[in-house]
Amino acid sequence: MLKKASLFILAAGLGMMSCSKDPISDLSTEETLVYITNHDKAANYTQYKTFSIVDSVLVVENGQAGTALTELDRDVLIRIVSNMEKLGYKYVSPKSKPDVGINASWITNTYLNVVSQPLSSYYGGYWGGGGGYGYGYPSYYQYYQTSESYWLISMLDFKNPNTVDKTFKVVWDAQIRGAGIGDRQYVDRMVDSIFGQSEYLKIN
């Protein structure tokens, strides 16, 4: 009797663990968007007057890069320009030595995940596995791919280049992640948000 009872508890316990919840299934696309901004606290933004922006979006996929200019990309670049102008910066051509440059990149990382054959020999009792027989799965593994994309927008300081390392310092950057990042309808909201939460950029 005791043995039966403990089996019952065990079975119920496994049942409880297996009912996993998805607490974010009710989020709207807009609600999944996450805006992350970083900035150089030592930077004095008022020293910058002019800016320029890349003419296409850098697409980085698993470390390999190319450029693209889809309608979505164009929308993003145009919205960045209008936000920068609103903050008081003057838009100039890349040739006329802007104080800061804006890069926009679409970054995708693909991960390969592995799962071992998920069937425990204790699932299902159809073949009468009670006699101590389980299923003899060979140790096969299954693979599946997941990929994650995000926007990365950075501001480079062209005015104070590091002449020793030959680098331009990133004085501000923003990541946009979430479900709606590839959808043109969210572009204005996304770009306005990353600048909106970075009030220190304002110079006018």
Binding site: M1, I24, R177
Partner: protein, 209 residues
């Protein structure tokens, strides 16, 4: 001679005054509970203050004969969740704007001891309970649809006050009502002083021997 006398004194068994089997034997008692739980203390202040009704447990106990004590094991499933509308979170260098979904799920595994104030056949059987064990817990904090997760096994304890109500005297089925304080020692991000909560449960029990 003495044996003969004893035999002579023996009467026909009084079936209806015989103590119940539940009094004569150590027996088993299984309870399934549904719980409402309310976060308390700094866990409520800093992480989730929303009560939850997605909590369950099952327990099995041994009720000792000639003793007001029973001991057993309880296995549960607790879940707390809170959604926070879009807000800005300032870190050391970064600022995050996101809709937060805060969750804690726990599978507590405990042993407990009950002290019963009245007999095993009273229709109302109030008891006090102390319990201790571990909680297999999962802290998942979502920023939008990005998750930051922490999974740990941590010690937990509880003290409770409850009562069993038998549907009929000497019966094997009844209702169990319990109020219990639970404390889990855990520290991560928003949770700095453990997870404390009080839960009220209603359960159904079955006893047998």
């Amino acid at each position: 001679m003495g044996a003969l006398q004893a035999h002579a004194q023996e009467e026909a068994p009084k079936l209806y005054t015989l103590p119940s089997a539940y009094e004569r034997y150590t027996h088993y008692l299984a309870t399934a509970r549904l719980m409402g739980a309310m976060p308390l203390g700094s866990f409520a202040d800093n992480y989730i203050d929303k009560s939850s009704f997605q909590n369950y447990s099952i327990s099995l106990e041994w009720v000792f004969r000639n003793s007001p004590i029973s001991v057993g094991g309880e296995l549960g499933s607790y879940y707390f969740e809170k959604r926070i509308p879009r807000a800005l979170y300032d870190g050391a260098d970064e600022t995050i704007s996101a809709v937060q979904t805060r969750t804690i799920s726990q599978i507590p595994i405990e042993v407990f001891g009950n002290y019963h104030f009245l007999g095993k056949n009273a229709t109302v059987q109030p008891y006090v309970q102390v319990s201790g064990g571990v909680s297999i817990l999962d802290y998942t904090l979502y920023y939008g649809n990005l998750a930051s997760q922490d999974q740990k096994v941590k010690p937990k304890y509880g003290v409770g006050l409850g009562s069993k109500f038998l549907f009929k005297r000497d019966g094997s089925l009844g209702v169990d009502v319990r109020v219990k304080y639970n404390g889990v020692s855990y520290k991560h991000e928003y949770i700095d002083k453990g997870i404390s909560s009080v839960n009220g449960s209603i359960g159904l029990f079955y006893r047998w021997w």
